[in-house]
Amino acid sequence: MTGRALARIAAAVVAVLLSAGAAADAGAADPAETARILRHGPWPMPWRPDPGNRLSGDAAAAALGRALFADPRLSADGSVACATCHRPDLHWTDGRPRSAGLAAGDRNAPSLVDVRRWRWFGWDGASDSLWAASLRPVLDPREMGGSIAALAGLVRGDPVLAGLYRQALGRAPLADDTALAVDAAKALAAFQETLASGRSPFDRFRDGLAAGDADAVSAYPADARRGLALFVGRGNCSVCHLGPAFTSGEFEDVGVGYFLERGRVDPGRADGIARLKASPFNRLGPWGDGGGADAAATRHVASQPRDFGLFKVPSLRNVARTAPYMHHGRLATLEAVVRHYSEVDEERLHPGRARLVRPLRLSEGEAADLVAFLRSLTSDER
């Protein structure tokens, strides 16, 4: 055998070994890991209109909702619109740690993208429908400071809004203030339902894995692939950030703290459940269109001592576009979020709480991989 032939054989052996290594690295050799990855798709998921909102999925109602969303006249002094804290150019957040309406707020403005999918709305889940969640900030004195009467008066008195209302509802604006304000809130929800995220590099990888498409699998960056393995494996992240939307939609304590300042705390879910149950606009009340058949979660949700200081598990889709992070916005970057989970102070977790969060003790490389994975959840459209 010549030296050249030997060299060719050696090169072929190296190529085979590299190829096998790449497949094992990129293609998830472990069937259990593959199964865990596949559960994060497919995306987008089917969606059906909200049975509690007869305007849900209606394009004419969405047009009215779009107009209302951008209208600062919904606020008491005409200075704050829904779009003030949910800016289209900032992925429907405001980019601030904590939002400010008429007064400084205590919480970060969550993105509205994919909001149509949630069971609970807001960091504390104080609303059980998107339309009720849309009405809440309008009436909150610290956010928009409006009123039912003012909102109804605006829709009734403004020719453009009244015209959009007629197109959506097929009738003139109602004389009853509350009924008209609820219609306006349902139109706001119909608009926000249109804010849906598209497919991401992760989705192409995940679907390639499901279909055995080696090209799609190998196109996924190696660092994101390693980060994904951490996410569904040792990191235990997918216990809460589960399913295609990367969230359970429920509430957890991840050790970020609930003290706002000396003497003031954010009770989180504990307060959210109390406000939900007290609201006349919840799914058990008279203003929904589901007749109570859509209210199972509201009927059964339990108020428990451990709810204090719990906050909603956010979706991670497009998380790279929604900085800063956590309910109080105190973590400025994804790197800071990963560092938090790497070094989380277990003393800050409530005693007796679920043993979900442990310091991951990530190496620098592992932390970077996890961030790369999170960035791969960014969808193609802006």
């Binding site: 199964a35 429920e250 979660a297 059964h300 949700v301 679920a354 043993r355």
Partner: protein
Amino acid sequence: MSWRAAGAAALLALLPGPALATGCGSEFGAADVRRIVRPQYTLAYRPEPAELETDQLFALRVVLCGRDGGPVPLLVRVGAWMPDHGHGMNYATILTAEGDGYWRIDGMMFHMPGRWELVFDVGTPLRTDRLVAEEEVE
């Protein structure tokens, strides 16, 4: 469950059970029924829908059968616990007595993937036996 419901159910406890323990809950279907057997009675249940999914509300159909058609205990409480994480459900169940030892449990949700323990307290409101069954959701 309200005390009124418990009182109504207590009357049921005096009645003979619906079936022999060996066939308890056979109407739930052989593929879906789960049974917990005790010397004096059997508890059989089936989730609805039968395929449990993480983060979805579901119901349980439950029947208690006395040995040899003997009396059956009450179903007092039903809940679930995730032993590896040290927490229960975020939702409270509502128990509805359907008569003849049959119950419907609404408001169940396993909001995380993993191993859960279904906990059935049977007996009387003052003295209960705890029956535990394991379920796994992905």
